[in-house]
């Protein structure tokens, strides 16, 4: 019996594509919009609260608001609530900064069993790492482009 060649089957792959259930996109978008929007409203409330009660303004206010939201994101992750919101909201709870907090906090919890150094600390950024790498790279690239556009227009 001779060695067989790869039995890739286009016809079958098309059948799979046809039968595989699809995500209900209008519903997902709607859920994401509602939950994502709601998180933003909470953020806005925090912002006003910090401004009127603690008298924080400008960049400091933006930083403080983010910190409070990150804390809430981490707390809800630790309490095992955030993943349930995530199952329902999808992108709606991933995109806001609370989603970023969740993506750092959840692997830290998960890999704690392998120790504080090689587990928790090393694995903390398995999910958020790519976002940080490409987020920073993109911001640097944008900055460089912006710089040259400014030079040209001057």
């Amino acid at each position: 019996m001779k060695a067989k060649t790869k039995d890739y089957n286009e016809e079958y792959l098309n059948l799979v594509k046809r039968l595989a259930p699809r995500t209900n996109e209008p519903r997902s978008l709607f859920n994401a919009f509602i939950v994502g929007g709601f998180i933003c409203i909470i953020g806005q409330f925090i912002r006003y609260f910090l401004m009127y009660v603690f008298g924080i303004y400008g960049d400091e206010l933006a930083g403080a608001t983010s910190m409070v939201l990150i804390f809430i994101g981490c707390l809800l992750t630790g309490l095992g609530v955030y993943d349930k919101i995530g199952h329902y909201a999808g992108g709606g709870s991933i995109v806001p900064i609370t989603g970023f907090a969740n993506s750092v906090c959840s692997p830290a919890m998960e890999f704690k069993s392998e120790g504080y150094v090689y587990g928790l600390a090393a694995k903390m950024f398995v999910v958020a790492g790519p976002i940080i790498v490409y987020g920073i790279s993109a911001s640097v690239a944008t900055g460089v482009v912006y710089y040259f556009i400014n030079l040209l227009s001057a």
Partner: protein, 329 residues
């Protein structure tokens, strides 16, 4: 063509079984047949990996106890699981003073183990061989997908890894369900690359092994009361039926363990999967029916998707494997 089926002349028997499953599985369809259910899916251990290992070890011990045999009558343990380097099975074997044969064929490991045990017992090389496999939702999630608390959504074609383990004791004596033949499958890869769609990746191999079994045993689907597959899920089952119809067979007596194991309330979508899925369903619910004689003759075919996180990330397609045994009550 080479031969894939071996016929057992001395009819090795499955003389006892034991299953343990998590709280979610216990509340679902086959729950009341499962021998022992966990209240806490950590099983009193500090990590999920240890819990998975403990499930396997307890299953092995209690399957032996149920048979009335003593530990020193056991010749070997054949076991495997889904974790890297099959640690759960190997660490469970640490608890026992008999030979250990570690095997891996993803979710088809239970039938692979049964077939090998059947061959060892049938050939007269060994008298009592324990087979056991298991899986755990939490350990599989962390190895193959994301951290548990990450708020990601599961795609609708995905399946849910069963938290559970099943063990069976293959032996020579007594009047118990007997293994008539074993058909070892080939690795079939039709090019499915979506690691969330394992049903689709495994269905072609399931079809191939079934057709081989029918040809080599000179039987047809109607000769069996039940054709039980491992964890194809709802979508995989549909695909298998379409594929096998093209080969000239209709399998109306087909049931998939993955499809029946959950009530599909949460996000199980296509059903259960994992090495524990078929091990739990067969060794509890189905074995019970075999003992009562409600099922006379059946095919038990577990299906496995031979992927790893590395192969998936490198864009490799997912090869499927299916092994089948014919069991008569």
């Amino acid at each position: 063509m080479g031969k894939s089926t071996i016929f057992f002349k001395n009819k090795p028997r499955i003389i006892s079984t034991y299953t343990i499953a998590g709280p979610k599985e216990a509340q679902a369809n086959v729950g009341k047949f499962i021998h022992e259910t966990l209240i806490d899916d950590r099983f009193g251990e500090d990590t999920f990996e240890k819990a998975e290992c403990k499930m396997l070890s307890s299953c092995i011990q209690k399957a032996i106890k149920n048979s009335g045999k003593s530990l020193n009558e056991i010749d070997a343990l054949i076991s495997g699981d889904l974790l890297n380097q099959i640690i759960s099975a190997s660490f469970a074997a640490r608890d026992y003073d008999f030979s250990y044969i570690g095997v891996y064929n993803a979710c088809s490991t239970i039938v692979e183990s049964m077939s090998l045990a059947g061959a060892l017992v049938d050939g007269g090389y060994m008298k009592n061989v324990v087979v056991a496999t298991g899986s755990h939702f939490a350990t599989a999630e962390r190895q193959y997908r994301y951290p548990l608390e990450l708020g990601s959504t599961r795609p609708p074609q995905s399946q849910w890894t069963v938290t559970g383990a099943g063990a069976a004791l293959v032996s020579t004596d007594g009047i118990f369900p007997k293994i008539l033949s074993a058909t070892f499958g080939k690795v079939i890869d039709f090019g499915v690359t979506d690691a969330n769609n394992m049903g689709a990746a495994m269905a072609p191999s399931a079809c191939e092994t079934l057709v081989t079994l029918f040809n080599e045993t000179k039987t047809s689907p109607s000769d069996y009361d039940l054709i039980l597959t491992g964890d194809l899920g709802a979508l995989g089952t549909r695909l298998l039926k379409i594929l096998i119809e093209k080969r000239g067979y209709t399998i109306d007596n087909h049931v998939d363990c993955g499809e029946i194991v959950y009530n599909i309330k949460e996000e199980e979508y296509q059903g259960g999967s994992g090495a524990g899925c078929s091990a739990v369903v067969f060794n509890s619910y189905i074995y019970d029916k075999l003992l009562k004689g409600e099922i006379k003759k059946m095919i038990f075919m577990a299906t496995g998707a031979l992927l790893s996180t590395v192969s998936t990330q490198q864009g490799e397609s997912i090869p499927g494997i299916s092994h089948a045994v014919v069991i008569e009550s």
